[in-house]
């Protein structure tokens, strides 16, 4: 065992154990770590956005050599966001939000339309008969049939009765399989996060793990 001599690693290890103590029960050590985390995150994000975006993309270009005077617009709109702190003037922030809500929905409409809607339908145009490969044929039928059955399940404009109801039921079965698969992958994700923390404690702090 080679205990770390780095003060930072010791503080990190103690904070890790403080947060993990929540598993026993909620306690002041956990609450301290939680509030410390929120404070550090908020302070860090503010400074990061200033030096990563506001300074290089706005201030340097507006007040530097060969200034781009059009950038006075985002400067004013950005400052107007802070009008939310003043009850009488908070309506001014709506102008800044209006620009955001003009740009992003438009990007998402075209992005989802092209990337998700058109391309996914294109990807579903599969051959229903693959010569010499019965497995591929069955799988393609499964893919297209499952897709249609699930889409029919999400069609709520007509009551799910008769043939429509039966197809929707098949769609539900496909959905359950996909939720089960997602659950399996989610389990893997959560456990790997714990593995990472345990590796830190064993390798970086206690020095009992050799990688």
């Amino acid at each position: 065992m080679h205990l770390s001599t780095d003060l930072g690693v010791w503080i990190a290890a103690l904070l890790t154990l403080g947060i993990l103590s929540f598993l026993y029960k909620d306690n002041p050590a956990y609450k301290l770590c939680e509030h410390l985390f929120v404070g550090v995150s908020a302070g860090y994000y503010v400074v990061l956005n200033y030096f990563s975006v506001v300074k290089p993309n706005l201030l340097d270009k507006l007040f530097g050599p060969g200034p781009d005077y059009f950038l006075i617009v985002p400067l004013i709109l950005g400052v107007l966001l802070f009008s939310r702190f003043f009850p009488k003037g908070d309506w001014l922030s709506r102008w800044s939000i209006a620009l955001i809500l003009g740009v992003y929905p438009a990007l998402r409409i075209t992005g989802f339309g092209q990337g998700d809607f058109v391309e996914q339908i294109h990807g579903s145009m599969l051959p229903l008969w693959v010569p010499g490969n019965p497995a591929a044929t069955v799988n393609n039928w499964l893919l297209i049939g499952g897709l249609l059955a699930t889409l029919i399940f999400f069609f709520f404009s007509k009551e799910h009765k008769g043939a429509l109801g039966g197809t929707a039921k098949v769609g539900v079965y496909f959905l359950m399989v996909s939720f089960g698969a997602s659950y399996g992958y989610t389990v893997m994700a959560r456990i790997s996060l714990l593995i990472g923390r345990v590796m830190f404690l064993l390798h970086d702090w206690l020095g009992v793990l050799h990688l």
Partner: protein, 277 residues
């Protein structure tokens, strides 16, 4: 007290303890279980291997420290893979909490290639807020979105950026992402709009939702979670943290499966008494 009754009354903290021990054990005493490489991971490697030597590749690392065990092994291995093929790499980050971590990972990875220099063979452009808007602005000009790199240098002065204009300057996009903004947005805004070939490494939570993109050819390869990272390390013969973690992952999965079965066993008496009344 019967076994089933004992199960029904089990304090969850015993479950927490068992989980902790099952993760700890294999890390201290590895089981060295063999890994099988899956097709999506093979596709990821093939796509990078198909990139001509000396090309400049765009790599977007969109994650923060919460996803270190899954994302860092992927980033490290992909970065090494690209540098070993004499590719030049331009890295961006769209998550506020990730830029410091990613720079550390890249700097450490670059030390294994002393002949590769920062600014010439690789550059970290750092973080930019704006999500999809950044992706589309990069389509007109990478420097439009990133006038300076992570270290404060003006991008137009860096040798690697002289040959980079927009997405047409790259043969491939390697995206390592943990959520929003990430792979989905890159597919929608960049792959679909600018037709840039793309591979992705994602967290296991989001991996299932990207299989349709993989099947449709919008993604040429996909790494899903720590297992995907471990398979990638195996394929490029560079076992690392992900490979080391797979034994613990295996035992933990068996434990979860057992918990599902035991939980239903513990609930059986309640169901049968409910049925009788």
């Amino acid at each position: 007290m019967g076994f089933v009754t004992w199960l029904a009354k089990l304090d969850r903290r015993w479950i927490f303890l068992a989980m902790g021990l099952l993760v700890l054990g294999p890390l201290i005493r590895p089981l060295s279980l063999p890994l099988t490489v899956s097709r999506p991971v093979q596709g990821f490697v093939n796509a990078i291997d198909a990139v001509p030597h000396g090309s400049t590749v765009l790599m977007s690392c969109d994650y923060d420290p919460a996803s270190i065990p899954e994302m860092v092994p992927m980033t490290r291995t992909a970065f090494r893979h690209l540098l070993s093929r004499d590719c030049r790499v331009v890295i961006t980050c769209l998550w506020a909490g990730g830029s410091g971590l990613i720079d550390s990972v890249l700097t450490e990875g670059a030390r294994e290639f002393p002949s590769k220099s920062y600014g010439q063979d690789w550059v970290n452009l750092g973080y930019k807020s704006g999500n999809e808007a950044v992706m589309v602005v990069m389509g007109q000009g990478i420097i439009n979105a990133f006038p300076r790199d992570f270290r404060g240098n003006a991008c137009e002065t860096l040798p690697i950026m002289r040959s980079v204009r927009n997405y047409s300057s790259f043969p491939l996009l390697v995206n390592i992402s943990a959520g929003y903004p990430g792979t989905k947005e890159w597919v929608q805004q960049v792959q679909a709009r600018f037709h840039l070939p793309m591979v992705a490494g994602v967290t296991a939570v989001s991996a299932p939702e990207y299989y349709p993109y993989l099947q449709a050819g919008q993604l040429q390869g996909l790494l899903g979670g720590m297992a995907g990272a471990a398979e990638y390390e195996t394929l490029v013969k560079a076992p690392g943290l992900a490979t080391r973690g797979m034994d613990a992952q295996s035992l933990a999965h068996i434990f979860i499966a057992l918990m599902i079965l035991l939980g239903n066993l513990a609930a059986l008496p309640q169901r049968s008494s409910g049925g009788k009344s």
